[in-house]
């Protein structure tokens, strides 16, 4: 299973917000818990709107929740070609 290049701090941010559960976050941003699990595990890159909604719930900037790692992309490209 390939992981996406979009990393996130959702687990840490949930911890700092009174151990907010994945279900609570899912309800607040209007998605299913399975989607939050997939995003948190870096298995699904969220849409820009959803990413903003998640950042809004935690009251931080988008960059503090999500980060993009271009090295991952180049590693995946190398793995695919080899």
């Amino acid at each position: 299973m390939e992981k996406c290049q979009v990393r996130n701090n959702i687990r840490k941010l949930r911890f700092h917000h009174d151990e907010m559960t994945q279900e609570q976050l899912a309800v607040k941003v209007g998605v299913t818990r399975q989607t939050i699990i997939a995003i948190e595990g870096a298995k699904y890159p969220p849409s820009l709107v959803l990413a903003f909604r998640i950042a809004l719930v935690f009251g931080v900037h988008l960059g503090e929740v999500f980060s993009y790692d271009p090295e991952d992309e180049s590693n995946q490209t190398i793995n695919k070609t080899s």
Partner: protein, 150 residues
Amino acid sequence: MSYQEKNITVSLVSYLLIMGYYLVKLFQMFQEGGLVSTKLFSLWALVILATIIVNIIASILTNIVLTIVEAIKAQKYDEPRFIADERDQLIGLKGIRSSYITFSVGVLVSVLAFAFGQPPLVMISLIIFFAIAAEIIGDISQIYLYRRGF
């Protein structure tokens, strides 16, 4: 397992049952001496109607049963959150793509069978077979994407 996954699983089981019925009936016709147009027309009509109606009924029943189960689990009635979010929609689209590819290949195979001398009854039978197979492949690909953690 999410609501969407359960719904797709029920849909998959209903399509598999319809496909099984269709293949058994076709096999029986071949054993009785070949395809008879009158019997075959009624079989096609039955299968097409079953595909539409069974799926709708299965979807409604799944919704009702899941609402009851959720209410029993929570010991109270909450408005169920059977939402399809962006990930569900993306997986749904990928499933539809798999279905279209399967059906396109199926139609090509059916037309080729006709071009190489098979009767039109065989061609239409093959098209209906591939239509149901396409739905099955679409459902399987969606379940695979949900299980894999896309």
